[in-house]
């Protein structure tokens, strides 16, 4: 079990009060030279809360946190240890450096899993809306997979769609962080619970909220700010104009992170944000992991792709964007059943991905 020093304990206890807003908590922190003194000298905190908030909340604070007899501190700490949650306070050594100078930097991060990922050398955010086209999901997964295998830590949310594809791509190598918009007791949406649990085992799941906090609409943009802040570069997979992904893009821009976006065809609703970002020169256009690797200046550890046969190379060379299987057959002059088995082989080898409506996308580029 992790040991916390007095200052850390005080911060964790302070963070456990839902009635205290961020500005009040940080004001209380500023009252003390060492926050740990709060336990012995509750006066300044008491009078601050009584003055700015309410007398009753101030009394609660006095009777729980600052009263050793109440056992409140032990109660809060045991809640964390029971759930295997490690609290990382802004005072802790392993608090992510990328977040330290953030306005509204979380006072405490609740982490489940491999906390060393928080200060990884290279982090990369991949986000997308819930409505993402199937072939984009495959692309997102492939990019996340390639980057994470090369040691880049993938950062994403926990939603279905784009976020899920990023998590799926990253979790095998363990270089993945999922940031929740609620406490660890919940997973929203429920359908991602097993994936999030797996990431807690072989990656990292963090939240800036105490475990029992439920999800609320305004917490999602707040979470998106953390994704942007924690990442060195952010890839926007998809998002309509009104999608939550726009917050991630906005924050990334505000924090001067490198932005990347997948291009979409004209009028495609799920790609409005991406095309807009590319249009105004805010995001770099990327189609695959190599484009991202170039922008991020990293070498992708190439997966050992089995030698492709001439037939396979021929098929691969005619796949241009999302290409229909009948079109591929027409271009190569092969029968459709020959094409299907070649494509299955390419898919198994991770060279192409299958989207909806019998369309295939190449995941690697070959010289024509």
């Amino acid at each position: 079990m992790k040991e916390y020093n007095l200052n850390e304990k005080a911060l964790i206890v302070l963070d456990s009060y839902e009635g205290l807003e961020y500005k009040h908590k940080s004001a209380i922190v500023a009252l003390y030279k060492n926050l740990g003194e709060m336990f012995d000298n509750p006066k300044p905190a008491y009078s601050y809360v009584a003055k700015n908030l309410s007398e009753s909340l101030a009394n609660t604070l006095l009777n729980s946190a600052c009263d050793k007899q109440s056992g409140y501190v032990e109660f809060v700490m045991s809640k964390l240890s029971k759930r295997n949650i490690e609290a990382i306070t802004i005072l802790s050594e392993n608090y992510p450096k990328r977040l330290k100078n953030l306005p509204l930097a979380p006072l405490v991060l609740y982490a489940k899993g491999n906390v060393s990922l928080l200060n990884a050398n290279h982090t990369f955010g991949i986000v997308g809306s819930r409505k993402t086209l199937p072939f984009v999901l495959k692309t997102g997964e492939a990019i996340a997979n390639d980057l994470s295998r090369s040691g880049v830590v993938i950062v994403s949310g926990s939603a279905v769609g784009g976020d899920r594809s990023a998590l799926l791509g990253g979790y095998e190598s363990g270089n993945v962080i999922s940031i929740l918009a609620h406490g660890h007791d919940y997973v929203y949406p429920q359908s991602n619970r097993s994936l999030v649990d797996k990431i807690a085992q072989n990656g990292l799941v963090i939240s800036e909220y105490p475990p029992e906090t439920t999800s609320a609409p305004w917490r999602f943009p707040m979470r998106n700010r953390l994704i942007s802040a924690l990442s060195d570069g952010v890839l926007i997979l998809s998002g309509a104009e009104d999608s939550g992904t726009r917050h991630t893009a906005k924050f990334a821009e505000a924090y001067s992170k490198r932005l990347y976006a997948i291009p979409y065809s004209i009028g495609e609703k799920s790609g409005e944000i991406c095309n807009f970002l590319i249009k105004i020169n805010k995001a770099q256009l990327v189609e695959n992991s190599f484009d991202v690797a170039q922008g991020e200046n990293i070498e992708i550890t190439e997966e050992i792709v089995p030698d492709l046969s001439d037939e396979e190379i021929e098929v691969l060379s005619v796949i241009d964007g999302e290409t229909h299987v009948d079109k591929i057959a027409e271009l190569t002059g092969k029968k459709s059943f020959e094409i299907i088995s070649i494509l299955s082989m390419l898919e198994i080898n991770g060279v192409v991905s299958r989207g909806a409506n019998n369309c295939y996308t190449a995941l690697i580029k070959i010289k024509k």
Binding site: R130, K131, L133, P134, V160, G161, P189, S191, S265, E268, K269, E322, H324, V325, D326, A329, K335, S336, F337, E338, I339, I340, S341, I342, L343, S344, M345, E347, I348, G350, R354, G355, A356, N357, N358
Partner: protein, 509 residues
């Protein structure tokens, strides 16, 4: 006087001998039928009496008692009428006194004017009775066709009660029906549903051919108007010819349920049934007080097409799981438990989401992800697992639509399908199955041994594409069919890969 006449009773698809015993004695005029008759048999009293009167035969004035033995099985249907009338005549007059009727089985419903009406269930009755050792049958003229396909027995079609008596006494001998050799029928002729008219869709057509060749279940997923229904309707035109055995099996069921075409006498074209999605579970599976066969049994050796599969009540769909696996359905009712064969090829179609446009590049999908998940969850995993081929059908390009390219006609495809089925029939000669889709684990072991290279490909696809154990055997079966289509004795890697390619829907979603 006492007389005894043989007739039959029907229990599911099997017949049992009903001994119709008639006693005509002194006493007040009375007519009793004992031996567990149902309503139709009880009402035979009036039909028999009137029919005899109108045929110029005297109905005995005295006490007539009819016993239907064995007494503990319920007798159903009106086909015992003829046997009763013959028995009463034999017991009460000397018309038939010199004639031995114990060699004959009498079947037929009497009309009030003495003529014989066609009845249901003749084919299974004749087949079972032949096995029981009976050779001579007198049946209604209207059922003549059904007697034509059963060799080794004498079937005498009769127009009326007098006609039957004339035959028995030798004054008006009837010629036994000539055995007709079986010719598989064709549904393709003059049918507008021909693959020739399906433009483009090369992949989907290939998948259909594979499915039909091996009798595999197939699911077509696609947006509205993409041609799923048209493709499905083309299936009868490429279905392989029905063998005599298969035809007879199907005819039995059709005969029992009264669905048989009188002109044909045998079901020589593979049935194609498309029950509406409001069909009740009983209609689909079989049941009712008489445990009648349902649509899935009528589709035996044929196709059951479920259009818009998610619209069927989930409980109804789940009922299909067991017959899909066992190819037989057991219908149990209070009075009886009957097994009907239900070896059908299931063809289903569905949209990718409630609005139908998910994944489409031209139209926007209006569904939320939870709506799509809910729609898909209407078809349970176990059911989806039983569908060997799951393909996506997408809209045809306008250029393809107006092109005059020569598409292959159903007739040519059918030739190949017939050949592939022949390969399977020869292989399974001793196994009691006919198609690759019917293979069980032991058959897979015997006929689907993989070379090390194929095994390697199978292993990789298994791991990479996260197939279930059942998924693996499904892929193997389809691969076997694809190999058979090429007349290849071994399953090669490309066969496996193609088979894997036809599980797109399950893998993608």
């Amino acid at each position: 006087m006492l007389s005894k006449v043989n007739s039959l009773g029907l229990l599911g698809l099997d017949a049992f001998v009903v001994s119709v015993e008639i006693d005509v004695g002194l006493g007040l005029p009375r007519f009793d039928i004992v031996g567990l008759p149902d309503t139709a048999v009880k009402e035979a009293k009036e039909r028999v009496r009137t029919a005899m009167k109108n045929s110029g035969k005297r109905f005995p004035e005295g006490r007539v008692t009819v016993n239907l033995a064995p007494a503990d099985i319920k007798k159903e249907g009106a086909f015992l009428d003829l046997a009763m009338a013959i028995g009463i005549i034999k017991a009460s007059s000397d018309i038939l006194s010199e004639v031995s009727i114990s060699d004959y089985i009498f079947l037929g419903e009497l009309s009030l004017d003495g003529s014989l009406r066609a009845v249901t269930g003749i084919t299974p009755l004749l087949i079972s009775a032949k096995k029981l050792g009976f050779n001579n049958f007198i049946i209604p003229e209207g059922n003549k066709r059904e007697g034509e396909f059963i060799s080794g027995i004498n079937v005498y079609p009769c127009k009326s009660l007098n006609h039957a008596i004339g035959h028995l006494t030798g004054t008006l001998p009837i010629e036994a029906v000539k055995t007709r050799s079986y010719v598989a029928g064709s549904s393709a002729k003059g049918d507008s549903n021909d693959l020739r008219y399906v433009k483009g869709q090369a992949t989907a057509k290939r998948a259909l051919e594979v499915a039909v060749s091996g009798g595999h279940n197939i699911l077509l997923v696609g947006a509205p108007g993409s041609g799923k229904t048209m493709l499905a309707r083309c299936i009868p035109s490429i279905m392989p010819d029905m063998s005599f055995d298969e035809a007879l099996e199907t005819t039995k069921i059709h005969s029992v349920s009264g669905a048989l075409n009188d002109e044909q006498g045998i079901v020589s074209v593979r049935p194609f049934y498309t029950p509406h999605h409001t069909a009740s579970t009983v209609a689909l599976i079989g049941g009712g007080t008489q445990a009648k066969p349902g649509v899935i049994s009528l589709a035996h050796n044929g196709v059951l097409y479920l259009d818009e599969m998610p619209e069927y009540p989930r409980s109804t769909l789940e009922c299909l799981r067991q017959p899909l696996e066992d190819r037989i359905v057991t219908v149990s009712r209070a009075r009886m438990t009957v097994q009907y064969p239900a070896s059908f090829m299931m063809v289903a179609s569905m949209n990718p989401c409630p609005c139908g446009n998910y994944g489409s590049k031209t139209a926007e999908c209006r569904c939320t992800s939870s709506q799509i998940a809910k729609y898909k969850s209407k078809i349970s995993g176990p059911l989806l697992d039983r569908i060997d081929l799951q393909i996506e059908v997408d809209g045809v390009l306008y250029d393809d639509l107006v092109s005059v390219s020569n598409e292959e006609s159903s007739e040519e495809v059918k030739k190949r399908v017939n050949r592939t089925r022949m390969v399977q029939r020869e292989r399974f000669l001793e196994d009691g199955i006919r198609t690759n889709s019917e293979m069980r684990e032991k058959h897979l072991e015997k006929y689907c041994a993989l070379s090390p290279e194929s095994e390697r490909i199978m292993r990789i696809s298994f791991e990479k594409l996260k197939l279930s154990a059942r998924g693996r055997s499904r892929v193997l079966k389809v691969a076997r069919t694809i190999a058979d289509m090429e007349l290849s004795p071994d399953i090669k890697p490309n066969h496996i890969l193609e088979a894997v390619g036809y599980r797109s829907y399950a893998l993608n979603n």
